[in-house]
Symmetry: C2
């Protein structure tokens, strides 16, 4: 089987208020074109299809158009799941109508256990879930104690294996933060880091790649850079578009993977970068440099979003200067961010995976509460009772949303 692996489309995302929809449309066009020219058997979208539960109408239109072109016009099946940004139940509408036409979409845990059967492989679609969802799903099975998402995934995968056809390869599409299992000391870097804090808080990302050893390929979504991939077989595609200034600073190419897998599990994969029409340019320089024709004539003005970090030699340096207006005269009005730093400060150029996981948007509500508590108390961790209380509150919220 040959497929295209992408994730984290976040259709409808904005960048400090600027719409990224045109850039997203351009990326999706390239993805469909590539799927056609590579004659893939299917396109995998590993979650975070939309940027939020109730996406704007333009985002819905673009997503609809892209799916209709892929599935209905080009007859290329799509295998998609909901991510933590999606409104799983909203997205679920029409699922049973989509399936027979080749649009396979899972948004609920109970939909994950019946694989889609292809000639030489089985595809399992496991949407992003919270430990609470697994506790509800397994509520009649008293033996299954589910603390964090790691426990939940272990039980889920155990059940998936029961449906394994030994003559086929096994693919899992899912949406979690997964780190590499470090075999040398039997403990992952992530686990080491977590051992410093509490690792019993529900949803805390203590998932390592060894959990997925039954699968020949795990198409992951959630983390926006492919460099966070724990192994060759447990892999992030990264998002097709850079979404914020921090991502833009890493200057990494965005794209998708073409993955080939045969029934015996032999795997080959190739990264295909996508062309960027309008980049996010993060420029750090003193104000006078930014005003120099020698400098700005090098920049693709009017064709980029600009994020300026202006280096100051003194606090009063730009007093009375309308910085935005002056910059707009030269760089156009698409200036998405202006920050200031002291001359001599070096800007952080790259983020580690763990820093990524620390991004608020990657965290579960429980993690955010837990981190907040540690910050305000100067390092105390939540007690078991407090943890249980936090969990029960979110559980109640979750239920009320059902």
């Amino acid at each position: 089987m040959k497929f295209l692996h992408t994730s984290d489309w976040h259709v409808g995302r904005t960048l400090n208020g600027w719409s990224l929809l045109e850039e997203q449309e351009w990326a999706f066009q390239q993805i469909v074109d590539l799927a056609i020219s590579e004659q893939v058997d299917g396109v995998i979208i590993a979650g975070d299809l939309y940027d939020r539960a109730v996406p704007p109408v333009d985002a819905i239109k673009l997503f609809n158009k892209t799916l209709a072109r892929l599935v209905l016009e080009e007859q290329i099946p799509v295998y998609a799941i909901s991510g933590n940004h999606d409104g799983a139940e909203r997205l679920h509408f029409g699922r049973d109508f989509f399936q027979p036409q080749g649009l396979h979409l899972s948004t609920r845990l109970e939909e994950a256990f019946e694989p889609i059967e292809l000639e030489d492989c089985q595809i399992f679609l496991l949407p992003f879930i919270d430990p609470i969802d697994a506790r509800i799903y397994y509520k009649d099975d008293k033996d299954k104690e589910i603390q964090g998402i790691g426990d939940a995934l272990a039980y889920i995968i155990e059940d998936m294996e029961k449906a394994f056809d030994p003559d086929k390869a096994h693919i899992l599409v899912t949406h979690f933060a997964v780190s590499k299992k470090d075999d040398q000391d039997g403990q992952s870097l992530r686990e080491l880091m977590l051992s410093e804090t509490s690792n019993t808080v529900g949803g805390l990302t203590n998932v390592t790649s060894d959990l997925f050893k039954a699968f020949d390929y795990v198409a992951l979504g959630h983390i926006h850079t492919r460099f966070a991939s724990p192994t060759k077989r447990v892999h992030y595609s990264g998002s097709p578009v850079a979404f914020n200034v921090k991502e833009a600073k890493r200057k990494e190419e965005k794209g998708v993977y073409i993955v080939e897998l045969d029934a015996s599990g032999d795997l080959s994969q190739a990264f295909h970068p996508l062309e960027v029409r309008r980049p996010i340019l993060a420029l750090q320089a003193p104000f006078e440099t930014l005003m120099l024709p020698e400098f700005y004539k090098e920049q693709p003005c009017q064709k980029a979003w600009f994020a300026f970090d202006i280096q100051l030699s003194s606090r009063k340096e730009l007093e009375g200067v309308n910085v935005r207006a002056r910059l707009e005269e030269i760089y156009g009005t698409d200036i998405v961010e202006i920050t200031f730093s002291r001359l001599g400060d070096v800007r952080e150029e790259s983020l580690t995976v763990d820093q990524h996981l620390k991004d608020l948007e990657m965290q579960s509500p429980q993690e955010i509460v837990s981190d907040f508590y540690q910050t305000v108390t100067g390092g105390d961790v939540l007690s078991e009772r407090q943890t249980a209380l936090v969990e029960s509150i979110f559980e109640e919220i979750e239920r009320s949303r059902q």
Copy 2:
């Protein structure tokens, strides 16, 4: 062709905060059962599928379940349009996937002109639109001057007729306020009423049934009572459930129509009432009567929503009495409304169609502005310039939503 005509489902509607979802589910179950037992060729839902553009998740689930049962399990095609309460563009998602499986859904004007071809009839699905939509659609045709919705519909129907197959019957499914053409003096009651005010405001309901004479049956939605139907062939089904106390006061049976139409246009129709599980009971009486066992034992307590209008003989009569608490002791906690009136005042028992049309929820934004203006100025109507300004503002809002 034999079909079931229903409309104004308003899935997700609440009654002063109380969810009507269970009652709606019960109604939809009966509708599907009837469609099966009557062996209809299709079910028509003439708009206002949901109660609002972004319906709650439970409403989406119920609507999805009902459609899946009708179309996928029972193989009964559905012919549906969006109404003024629906978010047309949101509802549009997946349309091209639904169509091949028998779920026909129109949410945009441009989808109205190509009929669905059945053996002996053609079905045209015209969603609720605003005159603005028609102006945009016909923008290249300078001859078509569109003031109100009447002009728009005349042009639209003219274009539909071009696709008419003379060997088949012609059905239109649409969602507007339509009144009877009074043939005796060539002017409808509605037109007479409108002539008192301004009838150039976009969206104002100056549509009469004669506009639809080309069709053998017009399945209407918008007005919640079937008694508002202008003619036998231009017909409202009414909503399947009573949604508010005002509707409940009319005590009219709610239901659906089974309509039979042959290729020559011969028509027969029968109303099928739906069973109510939990009625809205509007009771008007002095407080002491409401407290009498002889009175309240006659009421289906715990099984109804109660709306009390308490008749007072003096202002101070119930001073210091916790009226709600006392009523809840007897009638249960599902008391959706408590109002007070003077003993002797007779409650209005029925509403005319024109009063219906005056309901805020039936009106377009332009009408509401126009009415508001007349109220605050004591009767002045908006000038042409003011009307144009109001229209251009709403047009801009509409465009920004695209």
